[in-house]
Amino acid sequence: MKGFTTFRRLVFAAALVPAAALTYGAFTNNLTANPIDYITDITGLTALTFLTLSLTVTPLRRLTGRNELIKLRRMLGLFAFFYACLHLSTWVVLDWFFDFASMTSDVVERPFITLGMVTFLLLLPLAVTSTAGMIRRLGKRWQQLHRLVYVAAITAVVHFWWVVKADFREPRLWAVALSVLLGFRAWWTLRTRLPSRS
């Protein structure tokens, strides 16, 4: 158990590395010639990374039988939300500098921005209801609500896909990873719900 606590702390520290690296890069003026675009990409990618990592917890737990892994899930999910907040703030503050008219028309007219916003709005209630009190209060409905994370992961990958001009290798990789993770759940559900035929 002690070992696992240390592991959790390490994961926590590691999760702060991208934010720290961006901050350091900002102060050493080392975020490419187009820092705003770079920050947007890194925060978006990091949000997607943690969203995906949070979806690996249950399959890993099922496969390894190590139930303490569940204690990582909330932290990973909240880091996904944290980086999504940075990503959104970059867009609002650095990219558009509070030009709400332009941002609104972007959300309405640009499907990739619409999907980014949808993803964010899906993650928001999940973050808000991530406290122990909320989990208790919502009971069974908490589980149902938090299934939205599957939708958010899908919209996040499509958002990424629609950002890209021609080199789809990276979004394709995320799409494959997500398919595996969601596929595992479907397979597991079928396996445990259906009576075994053999």
């Binding site: 900002a26 102060f27 003026n29 010639a33 820092p35 650095l94 990739f112 021609a166 080199d167």
Partner: protein, 315 residues
């Protein structure tokens, strides 16, 4: 006609050192705003000019008064998929690229067809410096001091035949020297083209240098097209073939996504990319977006070529 302003500013003064420091100011603003902390900013490391100067470069009035982007920006932030799709891939992967020896094949409807060695190809022309704005289709822009030769002079000397209505440019397709070619992100080789009147426009140049030095690999060594009123992808890099043809060339980006990229690709704030707006752009080194100008601000010189054309259809 051209807006000619007399100028005799020596090259060394076109690029005041203070401009290199602009991004520091930018980040001071951004960082102090966003991070609300004391700023200890170092200049961005590598990227000082190192190579020998190209000899006998004639000054021109083009772009005088524009604030140049730094050499580090111009040579460190590039879209050149033959060297990788990341913005900093070309600088890294083109480090050992050399533009010599180099042969340019001229063919199609042209009298002086044949293989031309790069040095004899450019020898007849005086090198000129042209400071041009470059607007990328992705929504960012730079100001770049190119060194090159007027494309019209080159074409006149090649003597196109009457049927030549378009000029097609092809980029080197050698995966051993350009690792990005191993990945089929676009249909290789990279092909672009211009209508003959566009190619003959006085703004169109073949660049062989930047910042007074020979082009580095990531900027399209040893010779590239620069057509500043069009999105950057029209300006074919590392040209190995110039073909004169009677039909509109199928440029690589149009082949890749015909709904998103057309043949003309004129900078136009009113015609959006299907996925993002083209109304504004970010000049690298600046914090706030600025409005994008019709024809990238070169309307006086180029607008009449498109009189009567529907630029929404011919995007």
């Amino acid at each position: 006609m051209l807006i000619r302003k007399p100028t005799d500013i020596p090259f060394s003064e076109v690029t005041p050192q203070s401009l290199y420091l602009r991004r520091r100011e930018f980040f001071q603003a951004a960082a102090s705003g966003a991070l609300a902390a004391a700023t200890v900013l170092a200049p961005r490391g590598a990227g000082a000019q190192t190579g020998p100067k190209l000899p006998n470069v004639r000054k021109t009035p083009y772009g005088q008064g524009e604030r140049l982007n730094s050499y580090a920006d111009v040579t460190g932030y590039n879209n050149f998929y033959e060297f990788g799709t990341g913005k900093e891939d070309p600088a890294a992967n083109a480090k050992d690229f050399t533009g010599r020896p180099w042969t340019i094949k001229v063919d199609g409807r042209v009298k002086n067809a044949g293989d031309h060695d790069i040095d004899s190809f450019i020898k007849p022309y005086a090198l000129e410096e042209r400071i041009y704005r470059l607007r990328c289709v992705e929504g960012w822009s730079m100001v770049i001091p190119w060194v090159g030769i007027p494309l019209a002079d080159v074409i006149n000397r090649l003597e196109p035949e009457p049927g030549a209505r378009f000029v097609e440019f092809t980029t080197l397709n050698d995966a051993r020297r350009m690792p990005g070619l191993n990945v089929p992100v676009l249909r290789w080789p990279y092909v672009e083209g211009l209508r003959m009147d566009e190619a003959m426009n006085p703004l169109s140049i073949l660049a062989v240098g930047v910042y007074g030095e020979a082009l580095p690999g990531q900027n399209g060594a040893p010779i590239r097209l620069v057509v500043p009123w069009k999105y950057g992808f029209k300006s074919t890099k590392s040209i190995v073939r110039i073909r004169f043809t009677d039909s509109e060339p199928r440029n690589s980006w149009q082949v890749s996504a015909p709904r998103e990229y057309g043949f003309y690709a004129n900078v136009n704030p009113e015609v959006d990319h299907p996925r993002w707006s083209q109304a504004t752009e970010r000049r690298l080194g600046e914090f706030r977006r600025r409005p994008t100008e019709m024809f990238n601000g070169y309307g006086d010189q180029v607008a009449r070529m498109y009189a009567g054309m529907d630029l929404r259809k011919n995007f």
